[in-house]
Structures are given as C-alpha cells and as structure tokens.
C-alpha cells in the first residue's frame, strides 16, 4: 500500500482530471470480479472524471456502435476493453481524430495516432503465484482452471505453470481449459476433477472461476486469483490475488491526452510500474519463507523493469 501512495503522489500533476470524460465498453458485467471489474474499478478511482460504462457487450457489432456513439458524443477517452473489439476500432478511430481511444488487452495501435493499447503482463503475477503454489503444495500437484486458451487467460496460465515448475521441477501441473468464459458449473466440476487428480492448490482466470473457488473452499484446497482481488470469495483458502491496477496507466493516459497526445503508446502493466500488485489475504497464515519467495520473484521482475 505504501508503494501505491508513492506512485499516486508522483502521478498527481498540475492537471487534475476534473471534467475529463471516460467511456468504457466492456464484454462482461461490471461486477464480474475479473476482467471488466478491474477496469471499471480503476476508472472510478480517478477523481473528478466522469465515467460512463457500457458493460455486458459481448456482441462485437454492438460494441462498435457503442464506441462510435461515445466518440461522437464528445468523450475524451473511449476505452475498448476487449480484445475482440480491435478490428472494429481500427475502422472507427480514424473517423474521430480528436478523440483518444484505448484498446486492451492488446499490443497493437494499428499505427493510429489516437489509439493507445494496453495489456497486462499477467504472466508475471502468474509466475510469482506459481512459485508460491509449488512451495505451499504438499502433494506437489497443482491445478489450473481456464476459460478459452486465448489472450490474457493463456498468458496468465502459462506464467503460472512456469512459476510452479521453476520452484519445483518435479511438480505436476494439470491445466483444464473448459472452453467457456461463463459456465460456472463446469468450472466447479473442473476444479473437482483437478482436486481428484491430486491437486491441493488451484488457480484460474476469468469470471467463471467463482465456481472453482467455491469447490476449493469446500475441499479445503488453496486458491490463487487473478485480475481482481478474490479474497472475499473464500477468505479461508484464498492465499493471494494478482490484481490489475489500471489506474496509474489511466492517469498517465489522461495526462497525455490533456497535453495533446492522443495515442500511439503501448502500455503494459507490470510489477515494475505498480500496475500489477500481489494482494495477499491478510487472514491467511502465509509462512514467511513462502512470502519471501514471492517477494524475491516480484523484486526480480521489478528490476527487469
């Protein structure tokens, strides 16, 4: 939390965000405790900014209409918070040269001067928590529940697996992509299956993992979360969560826009720039040596920049 304050102090420049209008178009619900919520929460922390949200827009064409509409409505920054929106954004952004757009998760601005792109180095947190998982696991067996193997989800899972194996090369990592972002029941059964295969520590990504967390709680299996702080779902067994803190990035974008730069930058939130934070569950009794492993790993990432 101290780091946050430092950076926050550093971020507060002379321009405030008073009256700055931000629009977010996102594919899932604002309270999904995952991808969408992370961005909505972040935007709402920007003091003075006016935030409009259109959530639940999984239909790409509808999202295109929304993005276009917000742009023509005079919003300063329109955030297309979904990888699938990119193709549409490529067509829309040139029509509104005075509006700044941000697209994530992606690493492509299509060479357009008014498009920012952003992504999360979720593999970093994945690696850190994977190491913790391996250290905490008594069966040397760890399970992962994933949605569809794509984008941010795949990045996280790969990082997690790498982390586990780097800490304990003989450990077993079972990964189960259930091929849906929304089938909670299937996610819970996937967790059961992973536990049945011997896992005593689980992790997962995307909103349907709430089902997996529930099973973990029932079976007394530990859980590592990502995208948002998932401690509240199961305070008994959630060890830590990799939380996406987009706010610093947003503040930087706002500054740039107010100074006249409407895009062209590729953002990546990492440990180094405090965009990624491991939030530990205060009520979980985490052994010091495990925490040290995590902190060392985080420091390594920070040093890498």
């Amino acid at each position: 939390m101290a780091a946050f304050a430092l950076i926050a102090a550093a971020c507060s420049s002379d321009d405030s965000a008073e009256g700055f209008r931000i629009a977010i178009v996102a594919p899932s619900a604002s309270n999904d405790l995952a991808f969408t919520q992370s961005m909505v929460d972040a935007a709402n922390t920007i003091e003075g900014a006016e935030v409009s949200v259109t959530d639940g827009t999984f239909v790409v064409e509808d999202a295109a209409v929304a993005i276009r509409d917000y742009a023509s409505d005079g919003f300063d920054l329109v955030i297309a918070h979904g990888s699938q929106y990119g193709g549409s954004l490529e067509e829309i952004a040139p029509d509104f040269p005075e509006v700044s757009f941000a697209w994530g998760t992606s690493a492509n601005t299509y060479g357009l001067p008014n498009v920012f792109s952003y992504e999360a180095a979720s593999d970093q947190g994945g690696t850190v928590m994977g190491k913790m998982a391996a250290a905490l696991s008594q069966t040397a067996n760890v399970g992962v529940v994933g949605p569809i193997e794509t984008g941010d989800a795949a990045l996280y899972v790969d990082g997690f697996e790498a982390g586990v194996l780097s800490q304990d090369p003989s450990a077993t990592v079972n990964i189960n992509y259930i091929d849906s972002f929304s089938d909670v029941a299937l996610a819970s059964e996937a967790a059961q299956s992973l536990i049945g295969a011997g896992a005593d520590v689980l992790s997962g990504t995307a909103q349907m993992t709430v089902g997996a967390v529930g099973v973990a709680k029932q079976e007394g299996v530990l859980w590592f979360g990502t995208q948002s702080n998932q401690t509240s779902l199961a305070p008994e067994i959630v060890v830590a969560s990799q939380v996406y803190h987009w706010e610093h990035m947003l503040e930087d974008m706002i500054d740039k826009v107010q100074d006249g730069t409407l895009g062209g930058e590729l953002y990546k939130i990492t440990f180094a720039n405090d965009g990624l934070v491991i939030e530990y569950n205060e009520d979980f009794d985490l052994p010091d040596d495990v925490k040290d492993i995590a902190e060392d790993a985080i420091q390594t990432f920070k040093d890498q920049g």
Partner: protein
C-alpha cells in the same frame, strides 16, 4: 490407457455427472409436465435464472439454504403462472413467448444481482449427507450416495413424477389434455385448468433447479445457467416425455461433460482439440436419439392452444 481409467477416475466422473445432471433433470422434469399437457415453454432458462438469483439472495440474507430453495420455488411458481396466462389464456405463440420470458429472466436476474448485491459474495451450500450403509459400498457408494439431500430428493422426484403421470387421475387428465383436448373437454376436464397446473409445476421445478444450481455452486453470476434451460427442453424430447427418459438424458449429458472434463485434466485431450471435445455432449445426444428405435411420439396437442368448439 488403462491406468488412466482407474476406478478412482470413473468414480469421480460418475459423481460429477450426477452433480451436473441435477439442475438439468429438475428443469426438464418440470417441462415434461407442461409438454405432456400440450404446452411448450421455451422460457425455462429465464425462470431458472430468476430462481437461481432469488435462491442465492435468500441464502445470502438468511444463511438458510432451505429458505433459498423455497424462495426459488416461489419465484418459479409465479413465473410458471405467468407462463400459463400467456400460453393458455392469451393463447400466445408458445415458441416465441418463451424466448421473451428467457430474455426477461436473463436480464432481470443480472440486473437484480448487480443492484442488490454488487460484487459477488459467496453463500453457504448444501451440506453433504452420506446415506448410512449405502455410502460405504465401494465405488458405487461414492458415486451415488455421498451427495447433498437435494440431489437425493431430485432423483426421488422421478419415480414420483412417473407415478403421478401414469397412475393418478391428475396424470390421466394431463395426458388426455395433451393428446385429445377436445375429447377431454367434452368429458368435463378443464383443459385450461390442467395446463395451468402443469405450467405452475413446470415453473416451480425450474425455479428450484435454478436455486439448486446457485446454492450448490455457492455463488451467483450473470447468466449462471449458461443455457442449461434450453438443454433441459431438448432433454424432454430426448426422454420421450417420460420422467425416466428425461433422467437418463440428463445423466447422459452430465456424464459426457464430466468425462470430457476429466480427460482434459488428465491431458488426454490435447489443448488444441478441446473445442471439438466440447461438442461431444451435443453430438452424442443427437446420435443417441438416432440409434435408439423411436416409438414415442409427442403429445398431439403440443403447442396448440385450445379453444372449445374448434
């Protein structure tokens, strides 16, 4: 390969299949009553979703899982009644009015969840109840007899439903109204009354199914059912409008899903082909119907509103 299909794995898949099947089974059973009397309700998924949210919310506020079930049942009952009004009294086109109910349930449950709860809060789930003696049977015990009370009740409802449909006067009326509404009407059976009853039963069971799902998972989320209501409708056809058939269909569907999950965990299904594997339950259901000799036909009056004198 044989070390993969150990009994432990099969047992796990079996237990998982049962858990996945229960919401489908309950919702499909309810729809069976309705369809047997001639009413097609495509809004089952919407009723399930509202039942799921209400059940979830009730447990959240009272910490009592059984109150949650009751709440889900009540909401389902009301929606079943509404469905009856729409389909029976207003004689609306049943295929489409159901879609409207579905959309309404989908949106309303999500809206209520966002406004009344906000960030997801976990709730208690049903306690596991091991049936004495039976649950100690090796393998079989673990698959069938180590579940929650709700699951046992759900399976018990199948023979009860079969009994009701085949051996009670009410059941006879249901069948009559579904096959020969004109004749039934002449004999003094209230076609509308029977259909109201079956729709209410259907709605209540769908509401219970949703509540069971939410409480078992211990959480609610937008579109929690993920289309389970539609699968339940399909299962009614698969089960030839008989509770036992519907149960078998739900179990088959649950089993294939559970098996695919297990194969993914064990890495037998390569990651590139998980999508193909995810098609398996649907394809197998169709194939099962193709290869099983069908001598069953639908209730003759299905989807036809009844008007005396026509």
């Amino acid at each position: 390969m044989s070390e993969v299909f150990t009994t432990a794995v099969l047992v796990a898949v079996g237990a998982s299949a049962i858990r996945l099947a229960v919401p489908l089974l309950l919702a499909a059973l309810g729809e069976t009553f309705g369809q047997r009397s001639g009413v097609l309700n495509l809004g089952v998924d919407g009723i399930m979703l509202l039942g799921a949210f209400t059940g979830y919310y009730a447990v959240l506020k009272t910490d009592n899982v059984w109150l949650g079930l009751l709440a889900g049942a009540l909401v389902g009952l009301v929606l079943g009644l509404a469905s009856a009004v729409i389909a029976v009294t207003l004689k609306a086109e049943q295929g489409i009015s159901g879609i409207g109910v579905f959309l309404f349930g989908l949106g309303m449950s999500d809206l209520l969840f966002q406004k009344l709860v906000g960030t997801p809060i976990p709730i208690d789930t049903f306690p596991q109840v091991d049936i004495p003696l039976l649950s100690d049977i090796p393998y079989v015990g673990e698959i069938f007899f180590q579940h929650s009370l709700v699951i046992y009740l759900a399976f018990l409802s199948i023979p009860v439903a079969t009994f009701v449909i085949n051996r009670t006067t009410f059941g006879m009326k249901i069948r009559a109204v579904g096959e020969y509404p004109d004749a039934a009407d002449t004999l003094g059976v209230s076609v509308a009354g029977v259909r109201y009853a079956t729709e209410i039963i259907g709605g209540t069971l769908a509401g219970i199914a949703g509540a069971v799902l939410a409480i078992t998972l211990g959480i609610f989320q937008q579109n929690l059912t993920n289309g389970a209501g539609f699968i339940a409708i399909a299962l009614v056809y698969f089960g030839a409008w008989r509770p036992t058939g519907v149960m078998l269909g739900a179990l088959l569907f649950g089993f294939v899903n559970a098996l695919v999950l297990e194969l993914k965990t064990l890495d037998i299904i390569p990651r590139d082909f998980t999508n193909i594997a995810a098609m398996a339950p649907a394809i197998i259901t169709i194939l099962a119907l193709v290869f099983v000799a069908r001598r069953f036909r639908a209730p003759s009056a299905l989807t036809k509103p009844f008007t005396r004198g026509k």
